[in-house]
């Protein structure tokens, strides 16, 4: 256990080691470790934010889907209503048309009947006149009774 100059040498070595550690070992190591700790913290925060964003986004999506569904339902309902309405209108139109056709037909028939009656009457009158002529030819002079005949014709 002799103290000798080794002590001084050791002290110098020690000082150099400490100096070197202080300059080139400790600061870079701790800086980088701190940096990484910060990065990890940031990453975790970002992940948390991402999670929240995702939650919000999925909420929004849900909301949108709900709205879309509602809109679709409304659309379908409106379409059905409109279809019913169209059908109803078509029915109405068809009914009106039908009635019109019927009315027209009736009017035509009426006219036809009228015309037939007219023709019939004329024929009946002719036949009657002809008959009366045949009966009366013997007694009635056509020239004499012309006005009478005409009045009869008009009455028929």
């Amino acid at each position: 256990m002799d103290i000798n100059a080794t002590l001084l040498g050791q002290a110098i070595t020690f000082a150099i080691l400490v100096w070197f550690t202080m300059k080139f070992v400790w600061p870079p190591l701790t800086n980088m470790m701190d940096e990484r700790a910060k990065r990890i913290a940031d990453g975790l925060a970002a992940a948390e934010r991402g999670k929240q964003d995702l939650e919000q986004a999925s909420k929004r999506v849900e909301e949108q889907i709900r709205q879309a569904k509602q809109q679709a339902t409304e659309l379908v309902m409106a379409a059905e209503k409109r279809a019913n309405q169209i059908i109803e209108e078509a029915k109405q139109a068809a009914k009106v048309e039908g009635e019109k056709i019927i009315t027209d037909a009736r009017a035509e028939i009426g006219q036809e009947v009228q015309r037939a009656k007219e023709a019939l009457r004329a024929q009946v009158a002719d036949i009657t006149v002809a008959g009366a002529e045949k009966i009366l030819r013997r007694e009635i002079d056509a020239a004499k009774h012309a006005d009478l005949l005409a009045s009869i014709k008009a009455e028929l």
Binding site: D2, I3, L7, V25, W26, M32
Partner: protein, 263 residues
């Protein structure tokens, strides 16, 4: 193994000193060179890790180094509350360097001395009985006192920096008994100041010297019985070398934090 047990032990406990006859200006080149190599290993590994530091994909070595740095940083943060750029690197250096020096104790006691003897005999043509090598630098008081006295100067330096030269001198004469009995305070303060490096140095030295001595004694047993004591002692010693390195570092931090705080 030398035939004579006493010679063997003595041989193992003799430093390789230059010049041989000793005196104050002699240097124990074994302590000096082994500790220097270990110090360079420490710096090399740590700077390498710092250079190749990977944020995303740290390797095992990097994680191990980070673990040590983190441990030291936490201890410093817990104990030392002032701001200082010196103390954490100082603590790291002490811890790793002392640990490495202590670890030399776990090498087989004859391995490096035997190699040294071979080299000395065949390269330098020396008498192998006069080639000495003690491989555990921390079992040399010079190494432990070199560190503890450096710590003592750091204590003084930190005190002066924190309180100013006048403040520190004032404290030397006024604490702990008040300024009325100045000289007594001074004596106490000097004793306190000196007790710190002495206890630091002798604690580490004593532990490592005793450990080394016991390894040497175990080496004197017949070879088939050595493991019986050698293995448990070596395993136990793993604890001691780590603990002593930690204690030295921890006490350094505590002393320095005391130095910057007011009494």
């Amino acid at each position: 193994m030398a035939g004579n047990a006493t010679d063997y032990i003595k041989h193992h406990l003799t430093h390789a000193t230059v010049p041989h006859d000793g005196g104050f200006w002699a240097i124990n080149i074994d302590t000096f060179s082994v500790s220097l190599v270990l110090g360079f290993i420490f710096l090399f590994v740590f700077t390498r890790v710092a250079k190749t530091f990977s944020m995303e994909n740290p390797g095992r070595l990097q994680l191990f180094i980070e673990m040590i740095v983190e441990m030291v940083a936490n201890q410093v943060k817990d104990v030392f509350h002032a701001k200082s750029a010196v103390i954490a690197p100082l603590a790291l250096t002490i811890f790793v360097w002392v640990f490495l020096m202590n670890t030399m104790d776990l090498l087989p006691v004859d391995l490096l001395p035997y190699i040294a003897q071979l080299i000395g005999e065949h390269v330098f043509g020396a008498d192998p009985h006069h080639v000495y090598l003690r491989v555990v630098p921390s079992a040399d008081v010079n190494a432990t006192f070199a560190m503890s006295l450096s710590v003592m100067f750091c204590i003084i330096g930190f005190s002066i920096k924190a309180k100013g030269l006048g403040g520190y001198i004032h404290e030397l004469f006024s604490a702990p008994f008040g300024p009325k009995v100045g000289p007594i305070n001074f004596v106490f303060q000097i004793i306190e100041l000196l007790a710190k490096p002495i206890s630091l140095a002798l604690r580490l030295f004593g532990n490592m010297y005793a450990g080394e001595l016991i390894f040497i004694l175990i080496a004197l047993l017949p070879f088939w019985a050595q493991w019986l004591l050698g293995a448990p002692w070596a395993i136990f010693h793993i604890l001691i070398i780590t603990l002593q390195a930690f204690v030295f570092m921890m006490l350094t931090i505590v002393y320095l934090s005391l130095a910057v705080e007011d009494h």
